[in-house]
Symmetry: C2
Subunit: 275 residues, 2 copies
């Protein structure tokens, strides 16, 4: 692991690191906010949305202030494998390929060699973090935005003992049923839709709810709400399955980091209280 | 004036606007954060540093949370004239020309036609803001970062009744004595250094201190501290002249927006208490 940058922020340190990922067969960057003190600290994994890198969250969300106060480590990985030899959408679309790993393990050529963001996010990166940073891996949560909200919810539902708390901003809750998800899943996972259900929070919760309470914030003025996000699909399945959740429709807010920044404090306190 | 974007943020509105500037003879963008409610609100002008546009502050500083709480309007203009016909540094350097207007009125060709950021920041923009937004122009302050800290301090010292409060992050306090300032002033203002003193906070405070107390935060790990910023030059002149000020050297902090974000709340409360 190599430190690419380190900046003091709210008494702690905002770092960006690079390492050679085995799961993804490429070099990967990730960001870590480390509060002042010796730890061990509870750790939150932030999963970003389409087009993002490890930089968006740390520059725009304003999370460091509250992470410093609460003594939380926040890890923010990149959103896909990167670099030479990593295939991209043939037309360079923003919603597939680079910047759009969808936190799954691709099974289809040419994606399956590098696009293993599920293994990376759930295994390789947490192992590296536990080794290199003063975290209490027994107190870990996951949260994210849009595609990363999808990642957070599916990763929590599949690993409720490892990622004990979960929240999301504007998540893609039912990728199997919306254009972004259908495009990604058909390419990464193939046409057999039973494989898709393994990475679909709405399908997962119907099968196996977690014991946690999931917090979802959704901007009511979000341009992607009606076509891509559809939080009611998850809410309905969760209610039926007995999954505890809070879905807050936030009047007037859009899909941007201005929305995230406005409510990030609530999410950090939510996780801290439960970890 | 045209609204380019408007996003809900902490209950208020973060907007970006465009207008045809008479002072600068070009179209200019500026950002306005407007808290919830009817106002009239006190108004702060944020002046950004080298290379910035109206976007840097609103995406990275995390000011909206406290501006919302305190009921402050924050206006953040671009840092130079822009567009076709506006001359730039012949070599495209980051520290002169586009993105580097230095908040002065250029007197030398070819800069004098467009580079009138002093008139723009002190006259044209405040008049437009007073006309279009619910501000109490009698309660206005100015603050900024680096080149914009220089702008804030000189503008306050020259107009203490119009911009009543002043603070700065990592300001260029004595441009006449450092490389960034010497390059900009010799090009914009010519070789007669008596003209430079009109835009040099250290020279201005020696001649005419204000009745306000000026807050300066400076990161002690700032790479530009020793060569370009030199806050002690201002502190010495201010002490001698009887200018009240607080200079805080912040251990471990650099020149970035991570530093600004860490202390922006202090600055906003500082201004709000005094306006």
């Amino acid at each position: 692991m190599e430190q690419k940058s380190s900046v003091k922020s709210f008494g702690g340190t905002q770092g960006v690191y690079s390492h050679a990922s085995t799961a993804l067969s490429c070099d990967m960057n990730f960001a870590v906010y480390l509060p002042e003190g010796n730890g061990p600290f509870p750790v939150l994994y932030w999963l970003s949305g389409l087009t993002c890198t490890e930089e968006n969250f740390i520059t725009k969300a304003g999370a460091q202030r509250v992470a410093s106060e609460l003594g939380l480590v926040i890890v923010a990985p990149d959103t896909s494998p990167r670099g030479e030899g990593v295939p991209d959408d043939p037309e360079g679309a923003y919603d597939f390929g680079l910047g759009a790993g969808f936190y799954l393990n691709a099974t289809q050529e040419p994606w399956s060699k590098h696009y293993k963001m599920y293994d990376y996010s759930t295994q390789e990166l947490p192992a590296l973090i536990a080794k290199e940073f003063p975290v209490d891996a027994g107190r870990a949560g996951v949260f994210g935005h849009s595609m990363g909200g999808h990642g957070a919810m599916t990763i929590h539902l599949k690993n409720p003992d490892k990622f004990k708390t979960c929240s999301a901003f504007s998540p893609i809750v039912a990728p199997s049923q919306v254009p972004w998800g259908k495009k990604a899943f058909s390419n990464y996972l193939g046409s057999n839709e039973s494989a898709w259900a393994e990475y679909d929070a709405t399908a997962l919760v119907a099968k196996q709810p977690s014991k946690a309470e999931i917090l979802i914030d959704q901007g009511a003025a979000d341009n992607f709400l009606v076509e891509q996000l559809k939080p009611q699909l998850f809410a309905n399945a969760a209610s039926e399955a007995g999954q505890a959740y809070v879905l807050r429709m936030q009047d007037g807010y859009d899909h941007s980091y201005y929305f995230i920044a406005s409510f990030i404090e609530d999410h950090l306190r939510w996780h801290a209280e439960r970890l």
